[in-house]
């Protein structure tokens, strides 16, 4: 199979934008992605589109893909909407990579969009947690915060980690997000702020939870031939991994690990022929602080039960050995469901090109993205590297 390259990436700011529609947000991300390629890249050369969205609020549940591509004047291309809950974006990227690697397409747009803040209180309540296991898990009274809180209860019970370590994840990601002008919650927070926030679902408090956001992010995946033609700094998609898992937490063998992350990570590292030690940074799916710690262990950044030492010792801080979520992560950058996974690649694009400003990871050449749907029903992992690093 031939290689696939990330040649362009752009996103809106994540936040609450009452003046924008899902289409206008998508258009902004799309235009920025196209502009980012350089070298006179012509959007006419896009020959496929993959659009990620959950469709929160039910605004365009059928055909949301064509509804956004037509808005940006992208007509008569194969256009598919991908739904994998919060992993929809990562899944769209993987589908685009697959199309290029297979030779069926040379340039593919993978975009994601979600509008989550314009609904009435009642409608918002109905849409929260629609990706949990509906018949049993949800009907015990949980939304996502509840399910991740159950995971946290088991994790804190079975390891040396304490709630303070969860709060430290929030502090770190807010510190990074404060340097990201596109972040939804782009302000720092103290450990005291994070510790003393009101409880949402014990043991998780407000600062353990990511916000719900509006936003869009788009990337362009191209063949090697196109990439070398239009881009001075192409980024190779070195590894792709994806796995499904049981939708309901109660149906899994473990509550302190996400098996689909382990499998997706294994696949991605194997294809990239590297291990965690070869990464310069990672964008991990920290929808809740505990999820970041679980991902450290599931992706092999540390041994089982040791994740808290990475956060405690500053290993995953921006100036640490393996910075995690320099963008601010879902916690601070925000979580517009369909746009989150593609948004992770936008951060990678900026970092590997050395254009991440004050949150730049020094000498970043290789990065990993990790995108989780639901509480682990779907996981997508990508390893990307500067072409010069290969």
């Amino acid at each position: 199979m031939r290689d696939a390259y990330l040649i362009g990436a752009g996103q809106t700011a994540f936040g609450a934008f009452p003046d924008e529609s899902y289409r206008s947000l998508f258009a902004e991300a799309y235009e920025k992605a196209v502009e980012s390629v350089g070298n006179g890249f012509d959007s006419e050369s896009i020959d496929e589109a993959v659009v990620a969205t959950l469709g929160v609020g039910g605004r365009q549940l059928g055909l949301p893909g064509p509804a956004v591509t037509e808005h940006v004047g992208l007509h008569n291309v194969p256009c598919t909407r991908v739904e994998n809950a919060c992993a929809a974006g990562g899944s769209a990227v993987r589908t685009a990579v697959q199309a290029v690697k297979s030779g069926m397409a040379d340039v593919v747009l993978a975009g994601g969009v979600e509008v989550m803040t314009d609904m009435s209180g009642d409608v918002t309540k109905y849409w929260l947690g629609v990706s949990g296991e509906t018949e049993w898990e949800r009907l015990t009274g949980t939304t996502f915060s509840g399910v991740y809180a159950q995971m946290a209860s088991a994790y804190l019970e079975s390891t040396e980690a304490t709630h303070d370590h969860l709060s430290q994840v929030a502090v770190k990601n807010h510190a990074n997000g404060a340097e990201n002008p596109d972040a939804h919650l782009n302000f720092g927070c103290s450990l005291d702020d994070a510790r003393s926030a009101p409880t949402v679902a014990s043991p998780l408090n407000l600062y353990d939870c990511c916000p719900t956001s509006d936003g869009a992010a788009a990337i362009l995946i191209a063949s090697e031939e196109v990439a070398k033609d239009v881009s001075n700094e192409p980024i190779r998609v070195a590894g792709v991994g994806s796995a499904s898992g049981r939708v309901g937490l109660f149906q899994r063998d473990t509550y302190t690990s996400i098996p689909a992350t382990i499998e997706a990570g294994r696949q991605a590292f194997e294809m990239a022929e590297v291990g965690p030690s070869a990464l310069d940074f990672a964008e991990l799916h920290d929808c809740f602080t505990v999820a970041e710690l679980l991902a450290y262990e599931d992706l092999g950044f540390c041994d089982r039960g040791e994740a808290y030492t990475l956060i405690e010792d500053g290993v995953t801080a921006l100036d640490g050995d393996l910075p995690v979520n320099p963008s601010g992560g879902l916690k601070s950058k925000g979580h517009p469901i369909g746009a989150t996974g593609t948004g992770q690649l936008v951060e990678v694009f900026k970092q590997l090109r050395g254009r991440a400003g004050s949150r730049q990871v020094d000498g970043a050449r290789r990065a990993l993205t990790h995108n989780v749907g639901g509480s682990g029903g779907a996981v997508v992992v990508h390893v990307l590297e500067s072409a010069v690093a290969a």
Binding site: G129, V130, T134, G141, S153, A154, A201, F250
Partner: protein, 471 residues
């Protein structure tokens, strides 16, 4: 002769004292009531009946498959029309050949008992009376309105009903509920009501061939704590016989369950001669003389005292109901397919590897086989594997009204043991009252509750509560 082979009783653990009403209204208009039981937001006569019925079968050591008749008496059914007996049977795990619903007045409890004794002929039957009436907040009926359920197991051994007498008087306006209303009313013509109650009750009692002075226990319908005593004035019946077995002072007016709860108290105290009198406004009375003993399992203790605002919240007086719809949805046919799991915790044992799966559908969680599952009922008690307490604002829409009324609840994954080894993880809501909490490793018991109501259809199932006995 069919006898009373066991008695179970249940009352919600929430209580409110008369002084709370006094503080709120300046007076408490329910004589003889000190505290009363308050159903939680996810309790109703059906859930209370299931809790009492299970205990009656336990007390009488009668397995559910022996029950061939079920009678259910309530004046406050959760729906005005709709057969509740199939659901109550399912919640109890019984498959009776015949079921009967009794209502219309608070006399329904004793009427159900009489009918059960006449109908059950060999085998076992179950009579359950459950009520939780309400009145307008500023009316005396609401001050008195309590909650409780009594279940009587009918079988070959136990106490016997040796005498029976009925009466009727044309005296409307005592206790009635208009069509379409949730609120029980009475006219408040005090002298008329007292005399109608007294005349009807006395006529029934006097129809019994019994020496009243020898009666030590008199379980007389108690719309409040005063009327039973007023009714027997002039009879050769000791007031202490009423006081010995009354439940109204602690539980409030328990409607159709009231005289049967009195009988349960008498049997618990080994009093072997009990006068039972059921009364319904309109008016009619049934008097029974019960002799002998029967085993009991009662759960009538209060655990948590509510203040008046908390009481109004529980009753839904201050909340605005569930939010408008959208999003995730479980259809009624989908729910019905899961009823064996919701009502009886039926898991499946994989035909290939013997592991337990819950719900028993799809690929085996252990070996992945797509074969058949043999149905197995899980234990009532399990161990918490993961748990969270959901704070205000964190509930999905199906539970927003419940949370607004009852406050925080927990949601857990519970490992329930199977009948022949092995366990399986099951998600369950944890009912928490009065500052209770649960942690990983704690033992919990399954109880019957309302899960949620959508489009007018209430879905019943199991939740869990902290276990009565330690691990």
């Amino acid at each position: 002769m069919t006898r009373i082979a066991g008695v179970g009783a249940y009352a919600p653990s929430l209580r409110i004292g008369g002084e709370e009403f006094e503080a709120a209204w300046g007076a408490f208009d329910a004589p003889g009531i000190e505290t009363k039981a308050v159903p939680d937001a996810d309790e109703d006569p059906l859930t209370m009946a299931a809790e009492a019925g299970r205990r009656a079968m336990n007390a009488g050591e009668t397995p559910p498959d022996q029950i061939n008749w079920l009678g259910f008496a309530t004046t406050t059914p959760p729906v005005e029309e709709g057969d509740l007996l199939p659901r109550l049977s399912s919640l109890l795990g019984i498959e009776p050949e015949l079921t009967a619903h009794f209502g219309g007045s608070t006399r329904a409890g004793t009427q159900a008992l009489v009918t059960g004794l006449e109908t059950v002929d060999g085998g076992a039957g179950l009579v359950i009376a459950a009520d939780c009436s309400r009145g307008a907040p500023d009316h005396p009926e609401e001050h008195a309105a309590g909650a409780g359920a009594a279940a009587i197991l009918l079988g070959a051994d136990g106490a016997a009903v040796v005498e029976r007498s009925d009466s009727g008087t044309v005296t409307p306006g005592l206790r009635f509920r208009r069509r379409g209303s949730e609120q029980t009313e009475r006219l408040g013509v005090t002298a008329y009501e007292r005399s109608a109650f007294r005349e009807t009750v006395v006529e029934a009692i006097e129809g019994l061939d019994v020496e009243l002075s020898a009666i030590e226990a008199a379980a007389i319908q108690a719309p409040d704590g005063g009327l039973p005593y007023r009714a027997i004035r002039g009879l050769d019946l000791d007031a202490e016989a009423v006081g010995a077995v009354e439940t109204v002072s602690a539980l409030g007016d328990t409607g159709a369950a009231s005289p049967l709860l009195g009988l349960a108290s008498a049997l618990e105290r080994d009093l072997d001669r009990t006068l039972v009198v059921g009364f319904g406004g309109g008016s009619g009375a049934t008097a029974l003389l019960v002799e002998g003993n029967a085993p009991v399992e009662l759960a009538l203790d209060g655990e948590v005292d509510l203040d008046y605002p908390a009481y109004l919240r529980r009753r839904g007086e201050l909340t605005s109901g569930p939010p408008e719809g959208g999003g995730a949805y479980v259809s009624v046919p989908t729910w019905v397919r899961s009823v064996p799991q919701r009502h009886q915790r039926i898991a499946g044992r994989c035909a290939d590897c013997g592991s337990l799966g819950f719900p028993p559908e799809g690929a085996c969680p252990d070996c992945g086989a797509l074969g058949d599952y043999a149905p197995v009922a899980l234990d009532r008690t399990g161990t918490v594997e993961a748990v969270t307490e959901i704070s205000q604002g964190g509930a999905p829409p199906e539970f927003i009204e419940q949370q607004a009324r009852s406050g925080s609840y927990a949601s857990a994954i519970v490992a329930f043991d199977g009948p022949a080894g092995g366990s399986v993880s099951v998600p369950a809501q944890v009912v928490l009252v009065g500052g209770q909490s649960v942690a990983v490793g704690d033992r919990v018991d399954a109880v019957v509750r309302r899960i949620y109501t959508q489009e007018g259809v209430t879905r019943y199932g199991f939740k869990v509560v902290p276990a009565e006995a330690g691990p």
